[in-house]
């Protein structure tokens, strides 16, 4: 046995023994005359304690300590801060692409009232733009920044929060892969998706508006997740889960590609009640040599996934 194992084992001795051996510093009452002396001593000692503490933390900071390696750390670059002025200036650009990006990015100024009003005023003229994409993005940005939330692309949930995406349908595949939320008048990037979920294709709230089903996609695959908004929990990804579950049941090759593309597709996604989702899926196996068309049902509360082939 190692010494560490013995130390760990001592941790499991009886609770009564542990409790009996614990001692606490007992508080003693002070007479008033001593109180003044102690206070003045504390003032003197706090100065020296602060000096010692500063020296201690300086020593701590000298130690090389990396808890997480972020992309910024790896590039030795500070994280870029959101710069609303840059996007306000971009509205004057000759390039329509810049204007389109700036309008969408200016929605992020929502939490700063001054900037929000400035952005709102600057974006409003673009509602009349001849470019449909710019005009639609301006209508949407004004809807969010003015707090009216009347757009069909804003999803209102039971807890009073609203969800939406920016860069709505900027591609044939869908919108930007970031899910935004405004709750208690605070905007936040609630969740973002990584490759291969490059776009958000659909957001479908449950009938009781407590859950949302999100369909994300790449140009090769589609994915479905259910988010419990209030509890900040997300289901397993349902398309790949179905593909593996059904493939295993049928004795098919269920290995997953390293780029996580599943070459599978989703259709007719709908809620059946408040906590059950159903969709049709075309599942791909053996490098698309085998395609199985199935109906997938996921009962959220039971966490039960059922996959049935469409005959």
């Amino acid at each position: 046995m190692k010494k560490e194992e013995l130390y760990r084992e001592i941790g499991f001795i009886e609770e009564e023994l542990i409790e009996a051996a614990n001692y606490e510093v007992k508080k003693k009452s002070f007479s008033k005359k001593w109180l003044a002396v102690v206070i003045s001593m504390m003032i003197v000692s706090s100065v020296s304690t602060a000096t010692i503490a500063a020296a201690y933390y300086k020593h701590q900071n000298n130690e090389l300590y990396i808890r997480y390696l972020s992309a910024e750390d790896m590039e030795l670059m500070p994280a870029t801060k959101y710069d609303a002025d840059k996007f306000l200036k971009a509205l004057d650009s000759d390039k329509e692409e810049y204007i389109y990006i700036a309008i969408n990015r200016l929605v992020e100024s929502y939490n700063d009232e001054k900037l929000r009003n400035k952005a709102l005023k600057a974006i409003q003229p673009f509602i009349q733009s001849d470019n449909k994409k710019i005009a639609n993005s301006a209508i949407f940005a004004v809807d969010i920044l003015s707090g009216s939330f009347k757009s069909q692309q804003v999803y209102k949930l039971a807890d009073g929060s609203v969800f939406f995406t920016l860069f709505n349908n900027y591609s044939d595949y869908g919108s930007q892969n970031v899910l935004w939320r405004i709750k208690d008048d605070v905007l936040e990037a609630y969740s973002s998706f990584s490759s291969p979920s490059m776009y958000i294709k659909e957001i479908i709230p449950s009938p009781d508006q407590k859950l949302i089903a999100i369909v994300t996609n790449s140009n090769k695959s589609e994915f479905v997740e259910v988010i419990n908004v209030e509890e900040r929990m997300v289901s397993p990804e349902l398309v790949e889960s179905s593909r593996v579950k059904y493939g295993a049941e049928q004795g098919l090759d269920t290995w997953i590609r390293t780029d996580h593309e599943n070459y599978s597709y989703v259709d007719h996604l709908r809620w059946k009640g408040d906590a059950t989702i159903e969709f049709e899926a075309s599942l791909s196996y053996d490098d698309t040599a085998i395609i199985k068309n199935v109906v997938v049902t996921y009962e959220v509360s039971q966490k039960k996934l059922t996959v049935k082939e469409i005959k």
Partner: protein
């Protein structure tokens, strides 16, 4: 808040449970981890990991004494962290405690027996009941709470050398006790 109410919050899966645990036992947990680890950031990480472990284990486990339950968790997490750290980053004072415990282990010539977690602890508890109260508490303060010799000597109003010799005798007694029970660790 009472321990019972905090445990009830865990059972209800209310995240308030972690806030209340931190409020009541945050300092206690940090002190235990601080005696094992040298780095404050490691201590902070262990504290957070301990809350997560409590969240994951209550229920089904229902602690009888929340302080000791948390103490055990953070002690184990901190010990893992200590073992993971390189020699340079380790807490020298805690290394001394572990080295002292080595004296209770059987010599390398003896065939060791393997034990289930907690099995040996029952024998150690029985052994501790055979000791006088002071020796028992000195042992537990040193090897459960990881107090320094100086802290123990201040608490018991004894000289450091007396605490050391007391611990030395208790460690020897423990080794003989375990061997007499047929336990070779």
């Amino acid at each position: 808040m009472d321990d019972e109410k905090i445990v009830a919050l865990y059972i209800q899966r209310s995240q308030q449970a972690i806030l209340e645990t931190r409020k009541k036992y945050g300092a206690y947990c940090r002190v235990i981890a601080r005696r094992i680890l040298a780095n404050l950031r490691d201590v902070e990480e262990c504290e957070n990991d301990a809350y997560l472990a409590a969240w994951n284990t209550i229920p089904p486990q229902i602690p009888r004494k929340l302080s000791i339950f948390l103490g055990r968790i953070i002690r184990n997490i901190a010990l893992d962290k200590h073992s993971y750290n390189t020699a340079k980053k380790r807490n020298n004072e805690f290394e001394v405690i572990l080295t002292e415990l080595e004296e209770c282990l059987a010599s390398s010539h003896t065939v060791e027996t393997s034990y289930e977690a907690g099995e040996l602890a029952q024998y150690i508890s029985q052994f501790l009941y055979t000791l006088d109260e002071q020796s028992r508490n000195i042992f537990i303060q040193r090897y459960w709470y990881s107090y320094s010799i100086k802290d123990i000597s201040l608490h018991f109003q004894m000289s450091s050398s007396k605490v050391k010799s007391n611990l030395f005798r208790t460690r020897n007694k423990l080794r003989f006790y375990l061997e007499s029970e047929g336990l070779y660790i």
